[in-house]
Symmetry: C2
Amino acid sequence: MRQGPTITTIAERAGVSIASVSRVLNGLPTSEATVRAVRVAAEELGYVPNSVARSLKSSRTNQVAFAMADIGNPTYVAMVRAMQPVLKDAGFRLILHSTDADIDDELDVLRRLGERYADGLIISPIRLTERHLEAFAEARAPVVVIGSVPDGTPVDNVRADSRTGLRLALDHLYALGRRRIGFVNGPLDTVPGAARARAYADALTELGLPHDPALIEIGDFYRADGAAATRRLLARTRPDALMCANDLIALGALDVLRAEGLRVPEDVAVVGTDDTDLAPVAWPTLTSVALGSAERGRRAAELMLDRLADGDAEPRVVTVEPRLVVRGSTKGTS
Amino acid sequence: MRQGPTITTIAERAGVSIASVSRVLNGLPTSEATVRAVRVAAEELGYVPNSVARSLKSSRTNQVAFAMADIGNPTYVAMVRAMQPVLKDAGFRLILHSTDADIDDELDVLRRLGERYADGLIISPIRLTERHLEAFAEARAPVVVIGSVPDGTPVDNVRADSRTGLRLALDHLYALGRRRIGFVNGPLDTVPGAARARAYADALTELGLPHDPALIEIGDFYRADGAAATRRLLARTRPDALMCANDLIALGALDVLRAEGLRVPEDVAVVGTDDTDLAPVAWPTLTSVALGSAERGRRAAELMLDRLADGDAEPRVVTVEPRLVVRGSTKGTS
DNA sequence: GGGTTCTCCGTAAACGTTTACGGCTACGCC
DNA sequence: GGCGTAGCCGTAAACGTTTACGGAGAACCC
């Protein structure tokens, strides 16, 4: 772990100035002899440039940060996985922030951007407050938000289309003859919870189905919460299908339906959301609305790269198309 | 995105020198008046210290890197998830490298450590070559390896105990009356593949069971490969249990067994390895050997922090205890 | 031979911090 | 009053790069 050589060390050994060393290493025009001398010296010393010093001079860190609630959540895993190669190919490192959906923690990440440890931040806030919007406006580096922000917010934005997604799911259930389609949602003060509540209501309207509050239940976005919410819902009414706001909720619903002796999909069809890796593993395999997590991650990374290349471009909004992946929980017995 | 204020800006506004500003901001003894003036100026300007400049001076980045094959793999997700809070609490950021199990890529990450963009590297190589060992020895910053390295390698090391883990699984199967216990492994030139092959053989010996090569099959560590390997195995012999080298392989095995009309666990019991989030979701729920991914991640982060605090301590080896999580694929019908 | 132009290179400043060093002031003491 | 000491603070150097600037020398042309 010895102190590594610097361009000064190389300069001495090669008998040239540090400016020449820098020029050679950066491929600027230099005489053959100098190039050779520097190359040899650098090789012999095992020189590796110090990225911190370079960053200080260039005010570029070649790092991009991604902040999300919980890296254990398959949706975020899919995003990270998709971002990684895009950033890596462009020579950027990826910094991960898990915020536990803590608003102060998220705001802290935004504020810390001022420390310039990263060139930009991709953030996927689960709740979106006034303070977030202020922080976006004041951010000291480009921000890309995954999840809808109000028009006019000065950030690039990647959106899922919950509306179309839920519409696809409900159309599918309707086509299968289901008419009492329940909805197990996450908290309404979250970005996805709010979006999906609206989307569900709109879809019912468009299908000409009645709005029955008894068919709606809310829990958190985890399996146990989904199970509890489903239990509450079943205690008061009897749906012939359950739309769930994410796959974990859907797994909880499957648990409860099975425990109650209800067959899936014969008695109750179940649809999840996000189409995570869990969906094809569940039993029955889970029909799920793919909101394009990977795609959203990829696009967010691309928006960030574009922004870093041209800081003055207009903020862009990208919407990712949803897709319905039909599996055993609504159709057949796979 | 205006240029942020620096200590020079503050110094001018407060009418003091930059040294005084620095002293105040770092809590070094200073007169009341100066402290107040600087605090006020910093507050008014919305000053945020530049971490790059600080790093250059202190040669500390407060960043730790983690390199693994694929962030999509649940084992690594568990590790990252466990590392994150440990590092965060100590004031370190986490940098993620996905190497796609590409050896050159891994070595590149090790070499790049010389750029000093991170204070240390946690790496979980899936294969371990001579060149890795050389690179560990030459690394310009502390390295913690997850996965066994030969004794004497100058790095801190966190190990899983495949041997005990497989022993637990085979004891369990043996106690259930299974005697023809097949093994679907991953590639033998990988660290886990090799370790588990040895562990399986040892466990058979200790149980006094015959070594039947027909019961062993090798594929890659993914669901489809596990399915293919299981198909090959079933084509030539008939086991009453299948030990699988990870959960994805086990899922593939379940797929094939179901397709062949074999009941799990009545006809063939199945055990996975790693106890990922997929295990409790599968059908039947999957008995799995938990090798403590989260625990390994946490311990690796702790070793790194210790090492950064005291660079001269002896390299340490930590072994994480395995645990068998019994579920429906070996017992009962949950 | 003197001017012009070009190529190559070295000097030095700059990026934003931290910190060693020494100067200044005020105070206490003999 | 002179001296020593303590407290506070400013100057400047340093971290390892990149890069503007200008000087030295060669080559070329008239």
